[in-house]
Amino acid sequence: MNAQQLPQGLGAARYIGQRVLRKEDPRLLTGRGQFVDDISLPGMLHCAFARSAIARGNILNIDTSAARDMPGVHAVYTQADLAHFNAQMLSFFLLPPEVEMTPLASDRVCYVGEPLALVVADSRALAEDAASLIEVEYAELDPVVTLADARNGPPIHPGTSDNIAAEMGDEELDDDLAATLNGAAHLVTQKVVHQRISQAPMETRGVVASRDGNEELTLWITCQSPHMIARWVSQSLGLPQTAIRVIAKDVGGSFGLKNHPWKEEVSVILAALLFGRPLKWIEDRYEALTASNQCREAEMTLQAAFDAEGHLLASHGDYACNNGANPQGPDNNIAVHMFVWGAYKMPAYAFLTRGYYTNTNGLAAYRGPWAIESLIRETLLDRAARKIGIDPVEIRRRNLVTLKDQPSVSSMGIPREDITPAECMEKLLHHFDLAAFRKEQAAARAEGRYLGFGLATYIEPTGSAGSMPVMTGELAQIRIEPTGKVTATMSTHSQGHGTATTMAQIIADRLGVAYEDVTVFEGDSARGGFSPGAAGSRQGVIGGGAAISAADLLAAKVKTVAAHLLNASAETITIDGGTVHVTGAPEMSRSLGEIAAIAYGEPDRLPPGCESGLEVQHRYQPPPMTFTSAAHACVVEVDADTGFVKILRWISSEDCGTVINPAVVEGQISGGLAQAIGMVLLEEMPFDARGNPLSATFKDYLLPAISDIPEFEFVPANTPSQALGGMRGVGEGGAIIGPPTLVNAIADALIPFGELPEPLALPLTPTKLLSVIEGRDLAAHSAPAPVVVAAAAPATEPAPAAAAPAGEVRVDGAWDMVLKTPMGPQGMVVTFAVDGNAISGRFDSPEGSQDFIGGTLEVNRVRFDLKVEKPMKITLKYDLQFDGDSLSGKCKMGMFGSAKVSGTRKV
């Protein structure tokens, strides 16, 4: 990484850009970290869960008597014991689910591993023994496991008409788009079937809950932000009067899994409230693999039309993902479509996107949750290049947005001002001699060795703040202690990110003190302020900006105080190495400690009106979104005898803006790439037809080891962003750009044998690659039913006219209406006023009220536009059908496509 390139205005930097040693490491290297399982409280008892052995069914009886009778067991709870708390499971956006969900199963189970009962015992071993004695009688139902099952099978949740958890976009292809696609010189279709992945942080989930009297609750929990946990638990449990303190000093990785608590953690917290003694639950690996939330299972078809020279003309995407039974928010992954062509000159794009409920583990976030957009686009581009007869580099050169093409707006409305994927690619190609590689590749092929080159480019939205409820700014509180040492309390949180290090580097530089003299505290909701923590590659961008702002404010105060004490003007004061200097008067220098001691202890000596002490805080609000860009390339050799892939080189050319610590940045990219390599070659979480998870140990679920991961090379490509400090964020990118880079290299290696099979189904196991090499399906004897991914068909049927209503049509009055938005279902009350065929009305929701006019009524069809300002300026076009006391229809949400609307007359 480029350590020298600092943005304008950051000034001289001693620490920013340097590979300084991490502050976290001395405790972690000596076994003195504090992970949740390291917490032990007086009187603490241990929990274990009895879990569903079937994927779908009704619970007839749970017999806990044998477990209760076991010595060492203190309590056994089922949902009947917890129901009175009315705990509400919530999404990351703090919205309730649209299907019934309780911490412990109440009358039905909807996935294998769903928690049914919680045992409290003297030890974890005893709690497990007792859990195994709990007898459950079920009336088993046939499970819905795959996406194909979900489309065709019965709805798994009562009260729903289908298994669609979330849906947006249009089923019918626009006539113009269809004409462009079908009339183009080249139409290339790529289909991807992405396997299910387990986030698999090395530290499993866990919580210690302690009820400290009736008004205080303390939680130690492995998470991504203690503040987020405190907010989630307060709202979920309805405990506005309870002081909730959440502590998570060290967390053993998370990657999206631990964004917020889920059923087990909530059950343990409720049990602790009920039982009155501190309770601990630490998930074991078997539970982590079979009962935790999971991610990534999806299918997508992407069509792209090119002119004869390989320029993009139009595209359509059809996406479906498996939400499992109880996702952490119903999800159709709208970001896939927002960003699929974000870095490219793509004139027109439309999509259909759906999430389906199935009887499997719920969907939770994982590093770059929308990453399939880069996988499918970049693999499509390589196939298109082969079809058109141009180089993979050339097809990108013809279509990527360069700095000269900006500012511009993508066809999905994404403003692009300073993205640099094309520039990253050129820098990468300056470092890697592709022509020389092609010669080497040809020579190797002549010897029966199959080398391949893979290239991919992308942009990644980072540092999101201000457009979604929990995606906030970050807070820095910094004080110079009376000793002169610096203490900072940050709203950032590390699950390995090293934010105590990077934030200290910034603060030391901006304050003019030694890095060793700065201590950063985080990981405790009693300190700092709200932030969602590590989510969306945001902490370097936003936390970094907060650290800069607060440190600059504090430095200004020091200068004001010092100028007054030393009878100098503030402009002549500098702080360097922990000493305050007056320009031209070296004898006037004072240590920061001397100034600080006066600032705290002798307020009479301070300037008039100056607050005593040296403490400031600042919450930094960044631009709404920042972008990181990158190009990656790798070289592989595929063994034609075994189908094994060896990665020979991997080069990252990444523009993540200002680099605070190159070792931390490279660590983030490398970790993401290792996860990408795992996704492409190794990792898979399959289920059998009855919904039983088939990867229950690390012998089944294959994580990459050191022998699977090459050395990564880093090419400098950084340019500062518009955020304060110029950081762009780097947390997720490796996991997004890694998969297409590797797949393209494997495909390139196997060109002598033909294209990779369609659909592209991950992981690319040796068996699958040998099937390409040998030209026969070696997995045929055990292959699952072929997955049919529907391509969008051209629109043929006209839009349905207003159908004759079955019942009375009365639009007037108030309606409870639900709009399925990308952030989850949102409820509102709409009051309509009818005047002849003209409709006006008013929307009321927790976010506020808004009037509309100019709507029309035709028979039972009501259409009107609503212009909204938040979370962004957008015109919502409603098209509703009224039938008796219910309404249904669509809301076209600009670039977000269409969302379903349903409602009932308010009584």
């Binding site: 076994g31 699950q495 290792a674 012998k699 022998s707 991961i709 490796g734």
Partner: protein
């Protein structure tokens, strides 16, 4: 459930305890002896996070029972550094090479590297890499771990 008396030395200090036959060495070290630097990542012998040194050899403490360690000398991550806080060479090189992020797998990697580089016979680079393939790190992509192992092999003249 049978109870057994065990006597063992952990990080140079004597410990006497009564343990259930089924208690793993890892659980004993963490829950009974208080060495929470022993991290249990999978409890089935794959991830390597719980590795400790028993009588000079790297052992997965989740696959060994506490009773089997009776009479043994055990070293955990807490016992690597000198009494004055000076880091063990393996700790120092891991720190300098940024070979850790979340730190959960780290104690096991330290103990494997310490067992292979701290005794009379120094392992060469290939042996170290081969041994490290038995440790899962989900954070770092192994870049710093590989650099650290190379340096340790070079320092030992192998």
């Amino acid at each position: 459930m049978s109870e057994h008396r065990v006597n063992l030395t952990i990080n140079g200090r004597g410990h006497a305890a009564t343990v259930e036959a089924r208690m793993s060495l890892g659980d004993y070290l963490r829950d009974e002896a208080g060495y929470t630097g022993v991290h249990l990542g999978c409890e089935h012998g794959v991830c390597g996070a719980c590795t400790v040194i028993v009588d000079g050899r790297a052992v997965r403490s989740c696959l060994m029972l506490a009773v089997q360690a009776d009479g043994s000398e055990v070293t955990t991550a807490e016992g690597l550094a000198d009494g004055d806080g000076t880091l063990h060479p393996v700790q120092q090189v891991m720190r300098e090479e940024h070979a850790l992020q979340c730190g959960f797998c780290t104690p096991g990697i330290l103990m494997t590297l310490a067992a292979l580089t701290g005794g009379q016979e120094k392992a060469d680079e290939a042996t170290l890499m081969n041994s490290l393939s038995g440790h899962i790190c989900r954070c770092t992509g192994y870049q710093g771990i590989r650099r650290a192992a190379r340096r340790l092999a070079a320092d030992s003249g192998q």
